[in-house]
């Protein structure tokens, strides 16, 4: 009897989630919700050991990079030699040179696998994706195919359906973002082609192909699952990080105490 009641309650809760979450919206798979990557790609897209972040001894073990496996198909990023040298320079200047440290918008695809959840809004027209870090967001334009007249931090994303797969092409980013905290980078010639495939109501498979002949010897692809936050109280919380970057950006320009 108790087991039957328990099953009944479980079914009722699952049913209320179903009523809130249609499987399809306007005839398409329903991507609405809050999603998050659960990996260390935001530290380093390629395989990496656990290690200390140099220069922050007072943070102790908090200032450490966790180990992680590569999300790059084939393992490593196929850099041109000069672009690989740029990555080495980036790593020497990290974290201060990382646009993330300055609270700059992360660009595509870095916004997707950042360590904060993001939210997808899908009705019967353009989709919207909202990312808390630096209050970034992007429209996925489903019919507007006009070019961006000028490069921007998030570029312009055009979406189309390949049966039940949402395919998003992003161009006209300005090449000033990084791809992760390990100095991986691209130029303004980058075209990103993302594929979002629902695996069920709470999981999607995310792939992103990066094509940038100025930086890489060939296009390459990252892949990872994204997990939907199922807590009914889940919501995005703001991360307007400009005040956290003030010290880094303006430390040399502070009025020094004791000067007139």
């Amino acid at each position: 009897m108790a087991a039957a009641i328990a099953v009944g309650i479980g079914a009722a809760r699952a049913q209320s989630q179903l009523e809130q979450r249609p499987a399809r919206v306007a005839g398409r798979p329903n991507f609405n919700g809050i999603w998050q990557a659960l990996n260390t790609a935001y530290w380093n897209l390629e395989s990496h050991s656990a290690e200390a972040l140099n220069g922050f001894p007072r943070l102790g073990a908090i200032a450490a990079v966790p180990a992680g496996r590569s999300v790059v198909r084939g393992g490593t990023i196929p850099y041109r030699p000069e672009a690989l040298a740029t990555r080495t320079e980036n790593r020497a200047k990290t974290p201060a040179a990382d646009p993330e440290a300055k609270c700059y918008m992360l660009g595509v695809p870095r916004v997707t696998y950042h360590n904060m959840p993001f939210q997808i809004f899908q009705g019967d027209g353009d989709l919207l994706m909202v990312y808390p870090f630096a209050a970034a967001n992007r429209v996925i334009y489903m019919t507007d195919r006009t070019e961006l007249p000028v490069d921007s931090w998030m570029g312009k994303s055009s979406g189309a359906w390949d049966r039940d797969v949402l395919v998003v092409t992003t161009r006209w980013q300005n090449g000033q973002s990084w791809l992760d905290r390990a100095g991986n980078h691209a130029s303004s010639q980058l075209t990103v082609t993302e594929r979002f495939t629902l695996l069920g109501p709470n999981h999607l498979q995310y792939e992103a192909t990066l094509d940038d002949p100025q930086t890489y010897t060939r296009p390459w692809t990252i892949e990872m699952p994204l997990y939907r936050l199922i807590d009914p109280q889940a919501q995005l919380l703001e991360h307007k990080c400009v005040p956290f970057a003030d010290g880094l950006l303006y430390q040399d320009l502070l009025r020094k105490d004791g000067k007139e």
């Binding site: 809130q20 939210q119 009705g123 019967d124 919207l128 921007s152 919380l237 005040p243």
Partner: protein
């Protein structure tokens, strides 16, 4: 199967109710009915602009009159248009108020450094309202409570004790590219909004510093008071064809005028015509104003997209302000 039957019955009822409410709307043009999303709620998606010329506060000469006569409007428009000579840019209420005061040449408040000129501005739209504020009936922001007057005085004293730019944190939220105020009610510059609707949620994205505010519908209580945000925390519901959004949990000073964390904002969005969403904003902060006040902005549909405004990424101005202050201190 049962869920589908229930869903279709609910959808059918929703459509019946929505049709009868739409019939009661006195503001729709004859023959126009509000387009609807698949879930039956009004479709307000798209890009909407606040380029209205109506000032926030009613100039005192209009007294209790909510509208001007056609003749008054024509005269004011003529005076304002005479100042649209490509010179200093005017934002929000500035040109309207200059025309009211009988000025013949518009000058920016900041005369020391170069300023935007009028090529940066959106075209402004006139109507015959004398103020955006509709409550209180005098069309003006209510008096500050004594505690707020004291706060403003204390902040002023603290500011005088410092230089104008000792640290980045001494400058305004706008100058630092954090926020131009939530809700954003300044007209005429990046005053564009993009509404996206999904099941159970609405997002309002503004061009001004690319903010996206999320309005979950029927989502239960606000977050704990321990969490404050520049956007506050929003909860929405539909009342017939009107989207009602309640926002609390504001960071102090998150609105463009002084406010405390007690601020409660109630916004209402109602699409009344093909090209118009009426946007009502009620601001209630008992630690700031002696009573709640409400304004209404008619948002107009544009056929345009919004552009990225990467304010912080391009904030050379703040760097220059700090460098200039340091140079002045060194006597150069």
């Amino acid at each position: 199967m049962r869920e589908r039957v229930v869903a279709s019955i609910v959808a059918g009822l929703t459509i019946l109710v929505s049709v009868s409410l739409a019939g009661q709307s006195a503001k729709s043009a004859a023959g126009w009915t509000v387009p609807r999303m698949p879930d039956g709620h009004p479709d307000m998606q798209g890009v909407w602009a606040n380029n209205n010329m109506t000032p926030l506060e009613r100039p005192k000469q209009f007294g209790m009159r909510a509208t001007m006569t056609d003749a008054e409007l024509a005269e004011l428009k003529k005076k304002a248009e005479a100042m649209m000579d490509g010179g200093d840019a005017f934002f929000a209420d500035e040109l309207f108020n200059a025309a009211i005061e009988g000025q013949t040449k518009f000058s920016s408040a900041d005369t020391q450094v170069g300023n935007y000129d009028q090529t940066w501005l959106s075209e402004r739209i006139w109507d015959n309202r004398t103020s955006l504020i509709i409550e209180p009936p005098d069309g003006r922001i209510p008096a500050l409570v004594p505690a707020a007057v004291e706060r403003a005085r204390a902040e002023n004293v603290a500011r005088q004790a410092k230089g104008p730019a000792d640290r980045a944190q001494d400058l305004s939220l706008g100058t630092r590219c954090l926020s131009y105020g939530t809700p954003n009610i300044r007209a005429g510059y990046q005053s564009y909004f993009d509404i996206t609707q999904g099941p159970g949620v609405v997002a309002l994205r503004s061009e001004m510093i690319h903010d996206a505010r999320v309005f979950p519908i029927d989502a239960g209580p606000h977050v704990s008071k321990a969490i404050t945000q520049y956007h506050g925390d929003s909860r929405a519901r539909w009342e017939g064809d009107t989207l009602v959004v309640e926002t609390t949990n504001f960071v102090p000073n998150a609105f463009r005028l002084t406010n405390t964390a007690q601020l409660r904002v109630t916004e209402k969005f109602r699409r009344v015509a093909e090209d118009t969403v009426e946007y009502y904003v009620t601001l209630d902060d008992p630690a700031t104003w002696s009573r709640a006040w409400t304004l209404m902005i008619p948002l107009k549909k544009t056929g345009e997209g919004m552009f990225e405004y990467a304010c912080h990424e391009g904030n050379y101005g703040l760097d220059a302000i700090l460098r200039g202050a340091r140079a002045q201190e060194r006597g150069r």
